[in-house]
Each structure stands twice: as C-alpha cells, then as structure tokens.
C-alpha cells in the first residue's frame, strides 16, 4: 500500500506543477462545450431526453476530459523510460505490480480531477442537477473511466520504445474511442450500422453512466453500464500489469 501511495504522491506533485498541461487538456472539452453546445443548442433537439443539447453534451465532455487525461497519464511512463527515472523505480526492492498500480491510481486521480474541473465549469454553463446521489454516481463512473484508461495507456506504453507512436495511438485508438462513444450524439439517432460499434466501445458505458448520474436519463441501463465498464477496468488493469512486467529496464 505504501509503495502505491508513494508513486501516487509523485504523480500528484507532478500534476500540480504542470499548469500548462492542466489548462491544455481542459481547453478542448471546454471548446466543444461552448461552440458545439451553444452553437447547436437551438438547432438540435435530443429526442426523448427532454433537455437541450448542452445538457446532453456535458456528460460526454466530462468523459472526454477523463479519457484523454488518463490515456496520456498512462503513456507517460514512456517519458519516465526516456528520462531514465523508470530505472530508479524498477531497481528498488518493490514488485512491478505495486509500481503499476501506483501509476494507475495516480493517473486516474489526475484524470478524475480534470473531469471535475469540466463538471464544475458545466454548472456555470447550465447543468441543472442538485441531486447529490446523481453526482456520486457520476463520480463513480469518472473514476472507473480514469482507472481503465490509465491502465490501458500503461499497457500501450509498455509495448512502445519511444513517443513516436503516440500520435498514431491518439488518432487511431483514442479519438475513435471518443468519437464512437455516444458522447456527442445519442445512440438512438445513430445510423444503424454504427450502433453495434458504439455498443462495443467501453467508453459508451462510461458516458451513459455519467449521463444517468448528471441528468437522470440514459439510453443504457446504468447497472449494465457499471458491469460493462467495471469489467473493462478489471481487464485493462490485468493486461496493463502483465505487460508492465515485461518492460525491460
């Protein structure tokens, strides 16, 4: 436990010091919220969900913020490898599993905070939910997305030598995960051939879970969301831990 805490603590210190990263990763979801949200608000009606488009979009943007920050945090161990710091951790008399879990919890925490920032900003943009339980549900899904995708990032980073593949991963893995997740459009209004892909996207269940928490309505039963996303989190953690063990120091 104390080793996991140690590694988590380092992530937090680095996070707090990286002002530009904090602002940088808030800017995109905020941009989406302001321009897509307000721009389409009067044009788009979300069928069967009562609220306006911006209310629909907010959970998606919170999920997006958590997704990008967590994948990035996971992949950051490549920096540690390149800057040599990973060796310092790997030569210590601690298990690889503890190191990996520490990284995962650390990355998930930063991702969660980034999501929280978007969530708080959303309140000023018109999020109308006074329901404490709803918020807690949303927090739970945010945490799961954070854990799952940090572990996912670690798994990828364990197989990468340097940052050259990073852009590729972003373009061909992370953006599709986001784009297909139902963060921007309701599943019911998607063309039928895309729906199965959306249902295969683990982030869909995170977005829907957060949406249920924040707006009280979702197109997928929140319990199913919990089971699927929870299962995905366990799976990525196992795969991440396994691949992290194979890293050559």
């Amino acid at each position: 436990m104390d080793i996991i805490y140690t590694i988590w603590l380092r992530s937090m210190k680095r996070y707090i010091r990286s002002k530009s990263r904090i602002i940088g990763s808030i800017s995109m979801p905020l941009f989406f919220l302001l321009f897509l949200g307000f721009g389409l608000n009067s044009v788009v009606q979300i069928p069967g969900m009562g609220g306006d488009y911006i209310t629909f979009l907010i959970p998606g943007m919170v999920a997006m913020s958590v997704l990008f920050t967590s994948v990035f945090s996971g992949i950051q161990i490549i920096w540690d490898k390149q800057f040599g710091f990973l060796k310092e951790t790997l030569v210590a008399p601690v298990s690889r599993l503890e190191i990996m879990l520490g990284q995962t919890v650390g990355g998930a925490t930063t991702a969660f905070i980034q999501g929280m920032i978007i969530l708080i900003l959303s309140i000023f943009l018109g999020l109308k939910s006074g329901n404490v339980l709803g918020f807690l549900i949303a927090f739970g899904f945010m945490a799961l997305i954070g854990l799952a995708f940090t572990a996912f990032g670690i798994a990828i980073a364990s197989k990468m030598e340097d940052m050259t593949g990073f852009q590729l991963i972003m373009n061909f893995v992370v953006f599709p995960i986001f784009g297909l997740s139902g963060a921007l459009f309701p599943i019911s209004s998607l063309p039928p051939f895309i729906v199965p892909i959306t249902l295969l996207d683990p982030l869909t269940y995170g977005v829907e879970g957060i949406r249920y928490g924040l707006t009280g309505v979702s197109q997928i039963n929140p319990l199913i969301c919990l089971v699927v996303l929870g299962g995905f989190t366990v799976a990525t953690t196992f795969i991440g831990a396994y691949l992290f063990r194979t890293i050559k120091s």
């Binding site: 104390d2 080793i3 805490y5 140690t6 603590l9 380092r10 210190k13 680095r14 010091r17 990286s18 800057f83 040599g84 710091f85 060796k87 310092e88 951790t89 790997l90 030569v91 210590a92 008399p93 601690v94 120091s249």
Partner: protein, 329 residues
C-alpha cells in the same frame, strides 16, 4: 577477508553478441573497485546483472552473500546504484527525489527525514533542497544521485561512469566525495569508467575489461609496474627499422603500434634516451618525434590490447551504430 561480491563465470549474450564473456573475480569489502574499459566493453551490462536488472545468460554471482538469481529482493535492498544515464525526476525538488527513494525503500518517516538532511549536507546540496532538479547543473545532479543511492544505507554502491560528461573541476570534486565516502563510511564501491585517470586516482584495484573479457586485474601500481618501466614513444618514417635496431637487452619490451608508432618500455628511460637517439642516428633512421612518460593505465591497456582506449571506442561506436540500425528494423 570477506567478499562483498563474488562473480563466477558470468556471461551475458545479446543474440550473437557476447557483451560479458565468462568473467570471474571477487571484490573485497570496503574497497573501491574499478571496472575500466572502453565504450561497449560490457561494464554497464555487468552492473545490470549484479543489480538484478538483467538476467545472466550463464554463470552466477553473489552480492553481500546473496545470490543475484535466487534472492533478487535481498540483493536490491543491500545495494545502491547510480546509473550511467541520469535517473532523477526533473520536475521534483532535490528533497522530493530523495523522499521518493526513501519511501520506496520503506524507511520510516523520521529516519527518512534525518538521513535526507545528512546526505544533502554531505553532497553540499542542502541549500538547494527545495529547488526543482531541472535547474541543477550536471555535477549537482550527479551528487544528488549519489546521495540518493546512499539513502537506504547500502553495503555496496555501484557507480556507472559517475563523472561522464562532467568538466574536470567537477570531476575532481566528485572524486573527493567518493574517496571520502569509502574512507568514512567503509562502504564498498564499484565504479565503472573509461577515464584512466579516474581509475588510477580513485581505485584500490582495477579490472580492465575489453570486449566483455577481463584482461587484467590488479592494483593500479602493480598494473603499471607490469609494463616494465617507463614508456618511450618514437615516431619514425620506418618503424620496422626502429624495432630491429632497438632489439637490445636493456629494453624490456618493444612494440610497433597499430598507428605506426613504436612503443618501448624500459627502466630509467631518462638515462637511456640519448643512447636510443644515437643508435637510431648511426643507423640512419630518421626520428620525427620522441617522448618519455611514466606508465599510465592507458599504457597498460595498450600493452594488453594493442590499441588505445580511444581507438577501441572508435570501433565501438561503429558497432553501436550497427546495433541501432538493427534495432530500427
């Protein structure tokens, strides 16, 4: 005498390349032991195996009596290591880097705090303790890494090229620290280097390693004595003629080098140099230059390998490029 480290036929291969080739030796408790050799000789690979970061292909070793294969954790707890490449977190302060290490090695918080104070004092970084490492010079970073390596009170400290890339003044300073550590704390230090002077000045014993093999192991003084006296270098248009003329009993060794120079070893060179010049003159052999010096470890390396360390490194770099090309594919 107990041994801090015992190495038995240790070998490591990377595919076809034998990076460390059947090395065996012991390192005494409390000594400063140098592993001297050119780039690519296998120094880092040897340390990686001793610190359990890399599995040997064959052979075995013990560190502080613990087997590197069967007792990884035991070995790791009892060693400190400063890697060849920097391994600090540049975004953290000096104190935070130390604290991270202390926590990883499970030191209690009061012990941790006290030792960090002491060690930062020792390496003269106490007044910079709350500064981000990014702002540190190369020498300061190295000192911080050494302090960090000592935090958990290891019995053995590995230093992989501790002064690589530092300016001569900082290097000198660092040598003093290392000597002091060994003297005052009785800690066993194994350092690798390709600087002759470093090995000579600092180490009780030196193993010269080339192409993964130990080619000589002794005290620096004994290694230099083994050369057979002072060293005279002669440059001439006709090196073979020089060699044949100087086949005389008072010259203990004469060799035509790789680069056309003739190297001679003899006792009391100052007294004989005029005779040498006379002999060459009377045989009408031109002399371009002649120099005399006390033997250095460079001469020792040369006498064993026929090349200077720099020449070996030039070859090594070619190998390195090939290796990188292979990795890219």
């Amino acid at each position: 005498m107990t041994f801090a480290i015992q190495i038995n036929h240790l070998t490591r291969k990377f595919n076809d390349l034998v990076a460390v080739n059947d090395i065996s030796f012991e390192i005494n408790e409390g000594e400063i032991f140098g592993l001297l050799g050119p780039n690519g000789a296998g120094k880092t690979t040897t340390l990686a195996m001793l610190s359990t970061m890399l599995k040997p292909t064959s052979g075995s070793a013990t560190v502080n009596g613990m087997d590197i294969k069967n007792n990884e954790d035991g070995v790791r707890k009892s060693i400190g290591i400063v890697f060849q490449d920097q391994s600090l977190d540049e975004e953290l302060t000096a104190w935070e880097n130390m604290d991270f290490h202390g926590r990883l090695y499970r030191l209690q918080s009061d012990v941790r705090r006290q030792r960090i104070e002491e060690l930062l004092e020792l390496v003269e970084l106490k007044d910079r303790k709350d500064d981000i490492v990014k702002t540190f010079s190369g020498g300061m970073r190295r000192r911080l890494e050494i302090a960090r390596g000592l935090l958990h009170h290891p019995a053995v400290l590995f230093l992989d090229e501790p002064t690589l890339g530092l300016d001569p003044q900082t290097r000198n300073h660092l040598w003093q620290y290392i000597a002091k550590l060994s003297k005052e704390h009785g800690i066993t230090i194994i350092l690798t280097t390709h600087y002759m002077e470093e090995a000579d000045r600092l180490c009780n014993r030196v193993a010269i390693i080339d192409h993964g093999k130990i080619i000589a192991l002794d005290t620096p003084a004994n290694l230099k004595d083994g050369i057979g006296g002072d060293v005279v270098n002669i440059r001439s248009p006709d090196p073979s003629a020089v060699v044949s003329v100087l086949e005389v009993p008072w010259i203990s060794r004469i060799e035509k080098q790789y680069d056309g120079q003739v190297t001679i070893s003899l006792q009391n060179a100052e007294q004989h140099v005029s005779t040498i010049v006379m002999l060459l003159n009377s045989n009408q052999i031109a002399i371009e230059s002649i120099s005399i010096h006390k033997p250095t470890l460079e001469d020792v390396f040369l006498s064993f390998t026929g090349k200077t360390i720099r020449e070996e490194e030039a070859d090594g770099k070619a190998n390195m490029r090939m290796y990188q090309k292979m990795m890219r594919r």
